[in-house]
């Protein structure tokens, strides 16, 4: 920079990238490669790499029953969250598509969950699902200890997450519905199509580009859910809600096994990456524009 004027001219575009690249370099690229590096080592309690073990951390994980359970639990969790969250968002968006009195209030209500923190929502759900004072047991007349029963705990946490995600899904789907040409509905009505037929043969295909985008975002987000699980179940009961992210947290910050936790992070990254790539591959074939 302090040499010739000509050189300064060439450098200046990069100066605008320095702030963001610096943050990315220190808190994204460096830690990303460090995580891969750590996953090949046994570490001490301070997280320093001590003994090189190659792929042993990965082999241990993939053969351990606890991690296999985590994979299974994560998969079920993601499916419930994605299907539930998208369905809720889609229903709300379809209901709010045509103008009617009070549409503003309703669309705000449907988008509202996106403003709520996972931790705050988790604490409210904890009380709703409380076995003696909770509204769920009182309304249904059941006597289930929702969060302490391995059969129901995962479903409850997943429904909470689906609820949290439904807000932004509603916005995506509303934007998608707004892009569909109104006249095709009129033409279909003239041809005598019922509203169910119109929904399945016009609305859903018309939504498919945005549907695809929403699906990818939802899957990636669902894999990263943490706060609600930490507060509601701490991975229990009986590891029934021990999703990968919670397992990473527990291994690193309770058991101080940073190497194993790093290996789990890498596996999580690979899973998310693969799913995203496969989905883009499918999109090229299946989505109608």
């Amino acid at each position: 920079m302090n040499t010739a004027k000509k050189k300064k001219m060439n450098v200046s575009p990069y100066l605008y990238l320095v702030p963001c690249m610096l943050v990315f370099a220190v808190f994204l690229f460096y830690p990303f490669f460090k995580t891969i590096f750590l996953s090949l080592f046994l570490t001490d309690k301070m997280g320093q790499a001590k003994i090189f073990v190659g792929l042993q951390n990965y082999i241990d994980l993939l053969t351990s029953e606890s991690f296999q359970n985590s994979l299974k639990v994560t998969l079920i969790f993601v499916v419930i969250v994605v299907v539930g969250g998208m369905l809720l968002g889609l229903i709300a968006a379809v209901l709010c598509n045509k103008a009617f009195p009070g549409i503003r209030v309703f669309s705000t209500a449907y988008a509202l969950p996106m403003a709520i923190a996972s931790s705050s929502a988790a604490m409210v759900f904890e009380i709703m699902l409380h076995p003696t004072v909770g509204i769920v047991n009182k309304l249904t007349g059941l006597n289930i200890n929702w969060l302490n029963d391995p059969k129901t705990a995962l479903i409850c946490v997943a429904i909470l997450t689906a609820w949290l995600n439904s807000g932004i899904n509603f916005l995506y789907f509303s934007a998608g519905l707004g892009n569909i040409d109104e006249t095709i509905y009129e033409r279909a009505s003239v041809d005598g199509a019922s509203s169910v037929q119109k929904f399945f043969s016009l609305t859903l295909p018309g939504l498919s580009p945005i549907m695809f985008y929403t699906l990818v975002v939802n899957i990636i987000q669902a894999f990263q859910s943490f706060g609600q699980i930490k507060i509601l179940t701490e991975g229990g009961p009986d590891e029934a809600t021990n999703v990968i992210v919670y397992s990473i947290y527990r291994d690193a910050f309770f058991n101080y096994r940073f190497g194993s936790a790093a290996a789990q992070s890498v596996i999580l990254f690979i899973i998310v990456m693969l799913i995203t790539l496969v989905m883009f591959r499918i999109e090229k074939k299946g989505v109608s524009y």
Partner: protein, 305 residues
């Protein structure tokens, strides 16, 4: 309508003018009631779904005003019989809630402002300047969106721990000072401006920074508004990173601090929910105030499939 009228005429062959008018009136009335029924049905369906979606929030507000002894009954008590503000007062005295709220405001505010600055600078370079490696660098930025936060969080924790930065404001803020999504969003907006805008400004002796501050930023207010609302809410709601890097009451953010109320004792459920309601209010308020901006900025051009 007109189609049905002619069909009726065809069916009955002879029809007087009065009969025709009466028929038209009847059909109009029927269409009107049908439309009314449809709107009513839509409204009813919306009310049902909205109540289901808002149930957790409505329930939380109701419990926050409920005296503790009212909650612990076996009968269904949806609304408080003797509403009280005691729970809110208790929440403030039990934990330093004001301090937590202040911390969260500082953190979320700095992150929001920082992201807007770094993202507009980078987006400016990516859309108006020519330099070597531009395409590659942009790809690198976009690729960061693929890396989930959990893949880096352990290493980041170890880094800031080794630097002795744990439990400070900078450690809460600095890792989140930029975002690939923000750069993408701003670039998307800048690309809609003609290049001649930049060139003529430059000819008039307007420097790059002045061009950003005086021309680009005023022209992209809606994108900045959308970005600000989205970033602030996300930062306010952040959980895992603040949980790891803060240890003292002086630095805890609301989301971490509020879960301290969780473990006090079972008699204090109403107080805990009152705390939660107070923590939710700022993010809801900002969301409702900025909702229009958010939708216009994020969904108008950026997400078109």
């Amino acid at each position: 309508m007109s189609q049905m009228d002619t069909m009726a005429i065809n069916g009955q062959k002879t029809i007087s003018r009065e009969e025709l008018l009466a028929l038209k009136k009847r059909m109009n009335a029927r269409a009107l009631t049908r439309r009314r029924i449809r709107t009513g049905g839509l409204l009813a369906a919306n009310i049902v779904v909205a109540v289901i979606i808002l149930l957790p929030l409505l329930y939380a507000v109701s419990i926050a005003f409920m005296p503790s002894n009212e909650l612990f009954t076996t009968d269904l008590n949806i609304l408080p019989k003797h509403p009280t503000l005691q729970n809110f007062a208790d929440a403030f005295t039990n934990i330093p809630l004001l301090r937590f709220i202040l911390n969260s405001f500082i953190m979320a505010g700095c992150i929001t402002i920082g992201q807007i600055i770094t993202c507009s600078l980078a987006a400016f370079a990516f859309s108006f300047l020519e330099f070597k490696g531009k395409g590659v660098l942009f790809m690198v930025v976009m690729a960061t969106m693929m890396v989930p936060g959990e893949a880096t969080i352990i290493s980041n924790y170890l880094t800031v721990g080794n630097l002795g930065m744990l439990d400070t404001y900078p450690v809460l803020i600095i890792p989140y000072l930029t975002s690939a999504m923000g750069i993408f969003l701003f670039r998307q907006f800048y690309m809609t401006f003609p290049k001649s805008l930049y060139e003529s400004a430059k000819l008039d002796g307007c420097g790059n920074l002045r061009f950003i501050v005086k021309i680009l930023i005023p022209l992209t207010k809606s994108a900045i508004g959308a970005m600000a609302v989205y970033t602030f809410i996300n930062a306010w709601n952040m959980y895992m990173w603040p949980l790891l890097v803060t240890g003292s009451n002086n630095m805890r953010t609301v989301q971490i601090g509020i879960s301290m109320l969780n473990s006090v004792d079972s008699q204090s459920i109403t107080m805990m929910i009152a705390g939660v309601v107070m923590v939710i209010i700022p993010s809801i308020a900002i969301f409702i105030a900025g909702q229009k901006q958010l939708i216009r900025g994020m969904f108008s051009g950026a997400v078109k499939g």
